[in-house]
């Protein structure tokens, strides 16, 4: 059986240790655990303990000062009855659906264009150009866009007045019907560097003969894309689909920095709701219940990935 087809568990744990003497085994037992110790001190204190706390305390009411009062499912019932919770779920669903599509389609398209350039050197240069933005902290990009959206001095407003449309310039972040889409447009044209590099690696892995025979048979660009390239980067696409959704589900910083959920509740997402409940209202228990909802959503997506998608897509620059 080849390595890839074996179940993940056996693949992860097969070691080729040779026969070892008993004393040697004893020694490895000590150093084996010993070497895990530093990592585990960190993990137990700042990962396992808080993660378990979140699960337990999501069933409590806690202001963070007095001791928590356990109240069964009350937090979850409060959430289900809260229209703001459902608005935030709807917003994140729209957000994830639109942005996942764009953040997959655009990088794939750009990767294909770059891949078919005749000059290898230009391929590398374009990859570098599209990857460079990762050096800019996300928060800086958000702040620049927040300036772009400014109704008085923003770039978009100026652009509209240059085009003679100054009367109809929308109030991007101030109009509840537009704000969510304004937030989603941050990062236009969505050539996500990570996704671009993964797709490019996938295209590079297509055997030369496949492309060669397509060329000989005179297959056109469109047919080549849909019948050769798209099926052969399906693995990468599934991987990116899940990773992008998981990441979008957890995006708090963008709405927090640009709109703080407003106007009204029009840009609330579950992560932001969690943050505001805990750190603005002091409802820590209720906040943790929201974080549990996010956790369960992420867990389901991860499970889908584990179950149906192979875990590794290596990239070599």
């Amino acid at each position: 059986m080849s390595n890839r087809q074996r179940p993940l568990t056996t693949r992860l744990f097969t070691t080729s240790d040779a026969r070892l003497s008993l004393s040697r085994l004893k020694y490895q037992w000590k150093s084996g655990y010993g070497m895990l110790l530093p990592a585990f001190v960190l993990l137990i204190m700042f990962m396992y303990y808080p993660a378990l706390s979140a699960i337990v305390l999501s069933f409590s009411s806690w202001d963070g000062f007095n001791s928590p009062i356990f109240n069964g499912l009350r937090n979850y019932i409060t959430l289900v009855k809260d229209p703001v919770f459902w608005i935030s779920i709807r917003n994140v669903a729209v957000w994830a659906a639109v942005k996942t599509t764009l953040e997959i389609a655009v990088p794939l398209f750009v990767a294909v264009l770059i891949y078919h350039l005749r000059s290898k050197r230009m391929q590398y240069i374009y990859r570098v150009i599209f990857v460079v933005p990762v050096v800019v902290p996300d928060i800086v990009l958000y702040l620049i866009w927040s300036f772009f959206f400014d109704p008085n001095i923003g770039v978009l407003g100026h652009l509209f007045s240059v085009l003679g449309l100054s009367g109809v310039t929308p109030n991007w972040l101030g109009d509840p019907n537009i704000a969510l889409f304004a937030l989603m447009s941050v990062g236009f044209p969505f050539v996500v560097p990570f996704n671009l590099l993964i797709f490019f690696a996938g295209l590079q892995a297509i055997p030369e003969e496949v492309m060669e025979s397509a060329r000989i048979e005179g297959v056109g660009r469109t047919r080549r894309f849909f019948q050769i390239e798209l099926p052969l980067v399906m693995g990468q696409m599934k991987l990116l689909l899940i990773l992008t959704m998981i990441q979008l589900l957890q995006n708090v910083t963008l709405p927090l920095v640009l709109t703080n959920g407003g106007p009204g509740y029009s840009t609330y997402v579950p992560g932001l709701l969690m943050y505001l409940l805990a750190f603005q209202n002091g409802q820590f228990g209720l906040g943790m219940a929201v974080s549990m909802v996010i956790f369960i959503l992420v867990l389901s997506l991860t499970w889908i990935q584990f179950r149906y998608i192979r875990p590794g897509t290596e990239y070599t620059a």
Binding site: F40, F46, F130, A201
Partner: protein, 275 residues
């Protein structure tokens, strides 16, 4: 090369336009960072001469403390993760002891835990430990956050080293610690680089965790500091220095990128093995 360029002209035109739009926010940022306020209002889209380098002096004074804090958090976090992660990775990849598969599974399960789940309890825990608003607490929280992923990557990489090396070391009577120091660490240099770039990027960009754990301005890292910085300069309508500050904030990683381009791109995609 020029002939190739002409043949691929449609692709090139599309890619160049896309690149210009994608980079425009940063181009605008750099152009505006050199403008006085008069130039900002009267020549909104163009480049204005002379360049006002004094904007950078003003911005540097406001932003350098945040930059230093970020550098401290990132360097400490990355080093702690590389050391503890490689030790644990070696233990999982090469040593034999009871319960290893189960313990490894327990570590791997952490990859499914989103940072948002631990945010509130971490805050409450740090408050209890009196590590709130402490640089040490911040570093430990960062280091723990990327630990599971780091261990996983090290384990995979160390498991793929040739068995003969370890066999030979065993015959020579090397202790496990010596094997780690003399064989594993030197051979793990490439993976240490990749993982460290990945961890560096995630610490450098993290906004929420320091927002919650740090509350005095003197200890703010760049992300949280930039919000305070923006408030201060927007209030006085000093747009040149504001954009100069944003540019300064982007320079450290730009320099790193220019010097370690391939390693950087590998580090960026290290996340693809995250499950």
């Amino acid at each position: 090369m020029w002939k190739d360029f002409r043949k691929d002209l449609p692709s090139h035109s599309f890619l160049i336009v896309a690149a210009l739009i994608a980079l425009y926010p940063f181009i605008y940022m750099i152009m505006t960072s050199f403008k006085s306020n008069v130039e900002f209002y009267h020549n909104y889209f163009g480049i204005s001469l002379p360049l006002h380098f004094d904007n950078y002096v003003v911005a540097w004074q406001a932003i350098s403390p945040y930059l230093l804090n970020s550098a401290l958090f990132a360097a400490s976090g990355v080093i702690i993760m590389a050391l503890t992660g490689s030790l644990a990775g070696y233990s999982f990849a090469r040593l034999r002891y009871r319960g290893k598969p189960v313990i490894f599974m327990v570590v791997i399960s952490l990859l499914m835990i989103p940072g948002l789940l631990t945010l509130i309890p971490l805050f409450l825990e740090m408050k209890g430990l009196r590590l709130l608003n402490s640089r040490i607490g911040m570093i430990l929280a960062f280091a723990a956050g990327g630990q599971a992923f780091t261990i996983f990557v090290f384990r995979q990489s160390i498991a793929s080293l040739p068995e003969e090396l370890f066999e030979a070391a065993r015959i020579d009577g090397y202790s496990e610690v010596r094997v780690y120091l003399n064989i594993v660490l030197p051979l793990s240099k490439p993976i240490i680089g990749t993982v460290s770039i990945f961890n560096l990027l995630s610490i450098w960009n993290n906004y929420l965790l320091p927002l919650v754990l740090i509350n005095s301005q003197g200890k703010y890292p760049l992300t949280v500091g930039l919000m305070a910085f923006r408030g201060q300069f927007v209030y006085n309508a000093q747009y040149g220095p504001m954009f100069a500050g944003y540019t300064i904030a982007s320079l450290p990683l730009l320099l790193l990128f220019l010097f370690t381009m391939r390693l950087f791109m590998r580090g960026l995609t290290a996340g693809s093995i995250k499950m």
